[in-house]
Amino acid sequence: MKLNYLFPNKYKKIGWLLFIPSAIIGLATLIFEFEPNSLDFNVPAIFIDEFFGDKHFMGIVNNNILNEILAVLIILSSLLVAFSKEETEDEYISKIRLESLVWAVYLNYAILLISFLFIFDMSFLWVMILNMFTILLFFMIRFNCQISKLKKSTRYEK
C-alpha cells in the first residue's frame, strides 16, 4: 500500500539530529530565560496586544527571536522524526503508528486536563508552552518503544 503522507526514511535520522540539540537548548533558554540582545529584532506581527496599550491587527513589534527559531526547529524536527517512514513501512507498522498517535492524544489531553484544574496563573504559562510540543513528543516515545519492542521480540525467532 502506498502511503503519501509520510516522509522518506532518511529524514528520520535528520529529524533526530535536529531535534535533540534544539530541544535541549530550547528547554535551557526557557528555564534560564536566556534572551541575547543580538537577537532583538523588529518583526511583523498579525495581532498585537500590548501590556499598556490597545489591541490591534497588523504591525511591527520588537521581539527576541531566539525562542521563535528554537520552536520552529523543534516542531519541524519532531514532525520529521514522528512522520518519517520506517525502514520497511508496512500495514502493521501503520497500525502501530495510528494506535500510538491515539494514545499520545489521550495522554496529552489527560495531562492538560489535570493541569487546567490544578495549575494556575503564571505557572500555567509553563503548561501552555510545553503542551505545544508534548503531543508529538509522547507520540515519538510511544511509537519508537512499540517498534523496538517488536524488533526485540522477533530477533530470535526463525
Binding site: M1, D90, E91, Y92, I93, K95, T154
Partner: protein, 68 residues
C-alpha cells in the same frame, strides 16, 4: 481469526525473513500474524496466498469470536 501461515511456511521450507521479503513486509509483521496478533489486509492475504500457491481460505479461517 486463525491462520496456517507457519504451516505453509514449513511446507515451503522458508524462514520468516524469507517470507517477509517475498511478501514485501517487515519480518515483525509475519511474526505478529503467526502469533495471531495482527490480522492482515485483503491485499496482504492475497499476496500470501499467491506465494504459497493456495486459496486465501486455506490459510485463514474464521473463529466464533470473529462474529462478536
Amino acid at each position: 481469526m486463525k491462520n496456517s501461515i507457519k504451516v505453509e511456511r514449513a511446507k515451503k521450507n522458508i524462514t520468516q525473513a524469507d517470507l517477509a521479503a517475498l511478501a514485501k513486509v517487515s519480518r515483525q509483521t509475519i511474526n505478529a500474524m503467526e502469533l495471531g496478533k495482527y490480522v492482515p489486509s485483503t491485499v496482504l492475504s492475497l499476496r500470501l496466498a499467491q506465494i504459497f500457491e493456495v486459496e486465501v481460505s486455506q490459510i485463514f479461517t474464521l473463529e466464533e469470536t470473529d462474529w462478536d
